[in-house]
Symmetry: C2
Subunit: 420 residues, 2 copies
């Protein structure tokens, strides 16, 4: 008997009919001989609606109260799902994050899970019931206040529970068939990937793929939880995320897993920073001080003893970052601060890159042929990312998807060259 | 510094503007030098909307899950109210029933409060914060499951908290100005009563007045909590419910506090029951066995050694009660079972009745003059109730309201007669 944790996102439980369909799938999984624990998000757009209400009463609501408000969303969906399961003759019991033992720190809106004590969930499973757990929420260890986990929270709840319960698999149900080689809205020929490694999935999630949140993948890798991403609207097997792809399967795997784009970042260039020890550090300390995460960083030393520093950061942090730097302009002694919101990041990810030379050459040749100008470059062992103009991103993704043979009916690319 | 518990019903927090208005009232109360604890119901019709959703997924949802679902309603209103208060510069913290220490038995949908442990509420008050507590809900002592208190639940939460906190007053905010001498929709000349005793309020609540629930008044009387019923839309002082009305005020109080009607009951007559010891008991045991509460009971013994038993019961229980009795028709050996849904109960309530003879005489003379036929009679020390045809109820209430001088511009009635 396998223990399966299933997570259903908001689009899978958007209305009464969807909830009933999900209930049937859960009951079928149990009747097939499995123990099932379910994690559920709030229905459809209900979180946005609650946010709207909050904005109507206060422009800047306290985090503690916003968390109290938003957690009502999962409370509704989990109770309805438990009812729908009960209506099919199985026993389901819904649990809040607090009841399920999701213990977090006290940072409202972005709490981190620090412990999972799933005693009530284990007791329910032992009695043959199906526990339905609210995603996205927990309880702060010290204040006992209700917290939310922030973006990707429900996926993280599912993985954390799967780890604590030592589940055989954690299935993430969504409205797409699995992980794709590119966003199908951008690349109609994108194909669904049957297997992917945690490493590749981390790179894709960190660079624009939205199907799984970075945090959930990190958690799954750390606690060795097999993740399956699949659609709640079909019976397709979806994509399995694992440590290593077995040899016999790996033979058939393409070298490249996918191409992603990310339009959520902006670029800042600080010009004419004195090229002295500690000057660049002042720039980065200033940004760290206000909690801004930088992504790519490029520094060029010029002949006259000064340097330009360029970095990318989340669009949402652009204003705060610029203000913080300008406030210290004299101290850092930089020339100008240039903002650029019109950028995109395009990334190519594949574990096969390690052992296949020539990927870089093909990558840059493809972009050049497509007429895409590259502004910044960053690489890891299994990823190449470039910053381009935002309006070039789709073209770049499509060209790369084709040239690396990822199109559903395409042929494998032949690599020439001696390295990247 | 007084400690005030304020309870706001769903109509007082129906939308963002209402919530902001209520927030201003709460903050004003605190700034006037009081400690304030707030109990809040779900917004407007939101409980009905959640019930609708439940019906869409299951015709007969489990009580545990229904409670989990419905408690989302207060979670939303209390968080929004805390945000609105925070926006006015005061500190508010919302608490679920469980967090506020509302400990109940395990009967979902109709749980009884068995303990209140308001440690977190007291801590918040000590820090100068305004605790906002979810009405209507608690946590079961043994199962730790979320429970709801059923009808009148939020009022009961407020009174129970006021008792546990030893509050100076429990204010019940609603959409009417207080307790009226009759339903103003029925009697436009009805007047708002400034003071009323628990006893009178209990009689009115038990016999059709909807402004306060019987259970909340019982709880307030038992734990000696002064209750004030007032409107959240005006600054009027409302109605104070107390043990005894002070002598100097009592002088000006009318003998009669109010006239109520109740259209929620039905009547059953069981004919030709053998007039032998234990036969009537069988009828009442049968009904008690299925949990039906009877109100009035009349038994007439006939000449032929059999008896007719007539009683009133909630309309909602009529079907179940009839079925249970008919199932034992041979055993009880009754003749016929007659159902009557077309009745109303009209009641006159007033502590002054005790010391003023002639109230009954005036009561029945008034009904006779108004052409209202009386089918059953029941009295307590401070109440006279009759069953009439449903269509005569309004006429009866209006006639009694006038003849007992309750009309806002009316004169005090002169009692004649020697007793009732």
């Amino acid at each position: 008997m396998a223990l399966v944790v299933q997570k259903y996102g908001g689009s899978s439980v958007a209305d009464a009919d969807s909830i009933k369909r999900v209930a049937r799938r859960i009951v079928e999984t149990q009747r097939a001989g499995n123990q099932v624990t379910v994690v559920v998000s709030a229905m459809g757009d209900s979180t946005d609606e609650l946010m709207d209400l909050a904005q109507q009463v206060s422009p800047d609501p306290p985090g503690r109260e916003l968390d109290m408000l938003l957690t009502a969303g999962e409370r509704i969906s989990m109770a309805l799902l438990a009812m729908a399961i009960s209506d099919l003759g199985a026993e389901a019991r819904s649990y809040t994050g607090s009841q399920a033992g999701l213990i977090t720190d006290r940072y409202h809106g972005q709490a981190r899970i620090i412990d999972v004590t799933p005693g009530r969930i284990q007791a329910a499973l032992a009695e043959g019931a199906i526990p339905i757990v609210a995603g996205f929420q927990g309880v702060a260890q010290d204040t006992k206040d209700i917290t939310t986990l922030g973006r990707g929270g429900s996926d993280t709840t599912a993985v954390a529970l799967a780890a604590a319960l030592d589940a055989d698999v954690c299935e993430i149900y969504t409205d797409v068939d699995g992980v794709f080689s590119a966003d199908p809205r951008l690349v109609p020929a994108a194909r669904q990937v049957p297997y992917i490694t945690y490493e590749e999935m981390l790179e894709l999630a960190a660079h624009g793929a939205k199907v799984l949140h970075l945090r959930c993948v990190e958690y799954a890798r750390r606690f060795d939880v097999p993740l399956r991403v699949r659609s709640s609207f079909t019976d397709k097997p979806g994509t399995l995320v694992v440590h290593e792809i077995e040899e016999n399967i790996a033979m058939e795997q393409p070298i490249i897993s996918g191409v992603s784009q990310d339009l959520s970042e902006a670029k800042i260039t600080v010009t004419a920073v004195p090229d002295l020890p500690g000057e660049a550090a002042l720039v980065f300390e200033t940004l760290a001080g206000i909690g801004v995460n930088l992504d790519m960083i490029v520094q060029n030393v010029s002949a006259d003893g000064s340097t330009d520093i360029t970095f990318t950061l989340p669009n949402a942090d652009l204003g705060a970052a610029s203000a913080a730097l300008l406030a210290r302009q004299e101290e850092i002694a930089f020339g100008e601060l240039l903002q650029d919101e019109g950028i995109a990041k395009v990334s190519l990810v594949g574990a096969g890159m390690r052992s296949h030379p020539g990927v870089s050459a093909t990558f840059f040749r493809t972009l050049a042929d497509a007429g895409v100008n590259v502004e910044m470059i960053s690489t890891s062992e299994i990823r190449i990312s470039v910053v381009t103009r935002a309006e070039d991103a789709a073209k770049a993704v499509q060209a790369l998807h084709t040239s690396f043979g990822l199109n559903a009916e395409g042929e494998a690319v032949v690599y020439a060259g001696t390295g990247r």
